[in-house]
């Protein structure tokens, strides 16, 4: 059976909610039935056939031949199967997904992997703000699964994250891991201001110390951390972007905070950074 393919017919002017086009939602439906599904667009509904040209039958493997940042909620709530987006995608990608694999070839909008519970979400481009966060007003963000972003992530990645892993191959914006209460975020590039703001628990694995770390993080020194030996092989599995992340002898510099909260969060760095340099960038290295 060939993959079920949705090819965008024309450029969209309004946002379209694609949350019903998942392996779970389309299970047992015929091609004609799928074409008749109504998708919310703007303040009205539109049928699948009006937006997409539909081909193929395998609901377990869905392909969006579409490059539109107006296609929202792709893969929302999916629990299995595979969705591939051969282009960009809109907001709320993989919202609340619990399983399966969701891949996007280019950039995605805000709130990707929002309230995600399980499965794997891979983004080859950049992701907008609030990756792995919670819906506005909700008190819990991503709760499981893994998100791999080969490009950059916007602000507040991992906001209120509770469990799971977010791997960012590029840079991350401001307030990385804000209000985080568990899980692991890895950033290979630079990190914006106020990383770990109001963080309760959880781990930020960085390659360099953020330029503007909240003063409520304390340096705990460089130590061997056994769990890195278990974690690193898993991270390296997710692509070349993460192969350079190395902790020789599993030693990491550990910062803990946010002490304005319960202070059990941690920022781990492969090398030693002189804490005085954070306060006085011109101070000589004494360590």
């Amino acid at each position: 059976m060939s993959a079920l393919t949705f090819s965008l017919k024309a450029k969209l002017t309004l946002r379209v909610d694609c949350s019903s086009l998942t392996p779970d939602g389309l299970q047992g439906k015929t091609g004609a039935e799928i074409e008749c599904i109504e998708l919310p667009m703007g303040n009205a509904n539109i049928t699948v056939a009006e937006v997409f040209k539909v081909k193929g039958r395998d609901c377990e493997q869905i392909i969006f031949c579409a490059d539109s940042s107006k296609l929202d909620r792709i893969g929302a709530g999916m629990s299995g199967g595979e969705i591939v987006v051969e282009g960009a995608a809109g907001d709320y990608l993989g919202l609340g997904m619990t399983g399966g694999v969701l891949r996007v070839a280019e950039d995605v909008g805000i709130f990707a992997a929002c309230e995600m519970r399980g499965g794997e979400l891979r983004i080859d481009g950049n992701a907008g703000d609030f990756v792995g966060g919670g819906l506005p007003g909700e008190r819990r963000g991503m709760f499981g699964g893994i998100v791999v972003i080969n490009g950059n992530a916007g602000a507040r990645a991992g906001d209120q994250m509770r469990r799971g892993m977010v791997l960012i191959g590029g840079n991350a914006g401001d307030y990385l891991g804000s209000r985080m209460s568990g899980g692991t975020i890895v950033v290979m590039g630079k990190v914006g201001a106020n990383a770990g703001f109001a963080m309760k628990r959880g781990t930020l694995v960085l390659t360099q110390l953020p330029e503007n770390l909240p003063p409520t993080f304390n340096d705990c020194g460089v130590h061997p951390l056994g769990f890195l030996a278990v974690l690193m092989p898993v991270i390296r599995r997710y692509g070349a972007a993460f192969l350079d992340l190395k902790f020789p002898s599993n030693r990491a510099q550990r910062w803990m905070g946010d002490l304005a909260n319960i202070g059990r969060g941690e920022i781990l760095l492969p090398g030693r950074v002189d804490p005085l340099r954070l306060i006085h960038p011109t101070a000589p290295a004494i360590f």
């Binding site: 568990g182 692991t184 951390l225 056994g226 769990f227 059990r264």
Partner: protein, 301 residues
């Protein structure tokens, strides 16, 4: 049946159903992994008074462990799930958590789960951290040399305990040499442990005693010094008897270990004083697993 001049008795070993688990202990080097593993498996020779039977199954190379460090694989056996859980937690808490640089991982991933770090984490006094990596939950407990890394739980399986055979030799030296040869060969068999000191037991027991308080007492039929005054199993040429007890994850594992051990002992043969091989049983009424010596030795050359 005679192997290399050693007579194999037409009898059987009787074994019992048990509950078992496996844990992997790693450390900075093999020396410290073994310090921890030996401590954990200490005073674990018999469920009669130790709560569990435990032993080091084998050495682990760094490529075989979750954290890439050298380690030891340890098997624990008990008569009930509750007792096994209790012994596991106590022993890991007192012998692995306390041991420098150690970490502890599950060695069985299926079946019912037994707490490993699940409760030990509270030693961290609120500073402990959970990490879910690749579907497995680990606890990181801060200790004075860094962090104690411990998997949350390990799997439990049904197992077989009490497989055994007896080496009847001309004297103590001959019995000991044959036992050592047997144990050395049996240590290469996976999924089994020989829980007694050095893998060998000299105080074989029978069920019951003349003293009401004791459930078991010395197996007088195999004691050479009272040969003349009891219903002895020993002929005049037997001066010492040693027993090897085997616990395994399956009856096939116990059987394989028995075959390897008996053959290694018999390799020394009658010329080196190994006169007979026998086995301990309770008439077949107590244990569901019977290992008939002739049958198992015929089955695998």
């Amino acid at each position: 049946m005679i192997i290399n001049g050693s007579h194999i008795d037409d009898t059987f070993a009787e074994a019992f159903g048990m509950k078992a688990t496996r844990i992997l202990i790693t450390a900075h080097n093999l020396k410290w992994a073994y310090h921890s593993a030996l401590s954990l498996t200490g005073f674990a020779t018999s469920v009669i008074a130790c709560g569990c039977e435990a032993g080091i199954e084998r050495r682990l190379d760094p490529t075989e462990t979750p954290d890439g460090r050298p380690g030891a694989s340890v098997l624990l056996f008990a008569v009930s799930t509750k007792e096994l859980a209790k012994q596991l937690e106590r022993r890991v808490g007192q012998c692995v958590l306390t041991s420098p640089t150690s970490a502890c991982f599950a060695g069985i991933h299926d079946g019912e789960k037994l707490p490993l770090g699940k409760n030990l984490r509270y030693f961290g006094d609120g500073f402990q951290i959970a990490k879910l990596i690749d579907g497995k939950r680990y606890w990181r407990v801060p200790v004075m040399d860094g962090e104690f890394l411990c998997e949350e739980s390990t799997g439990m399986t049904k197992a077989v305990g009490g497989g055994n055979f007896l080496i009847l030799a001309t004297d103590q030296a001959a019995a000991l040499a044959a036992s050592e040869a047997a144990i050395e060969a049996m240590r290469k068999v996976r999924n089994v442990i020989m829980p007694f000191p050095g893998g060998v037991v000299r105080s074989g027991s029978k069920v019951g005693s003349k003293y009401k308080a004791l459930p078991a007492s010395t197996n007088d039929a195999f004691c050479p010094t009272i040969r003349g005054i009891t219903k002895s199993e020993l002929t005049p040429d037997i001066g010492a008897v040693l027993e090897i007890v085997i616990d395994g994850l399956t009856d096939a594992d116990v059987r394989d270990a028995m075959i390897v051990g008996i053959r290694a002992a018999c390799a020394l043969g009658a010329a080196k004083g190994v006169k007979r091989i026998s086995a301990g049983n309770y008439g077949g009424k107590l244990g569901p697993f019977h290992f008939h010596l002739h049958n198992i030795l015929k089955a695998k050359p």
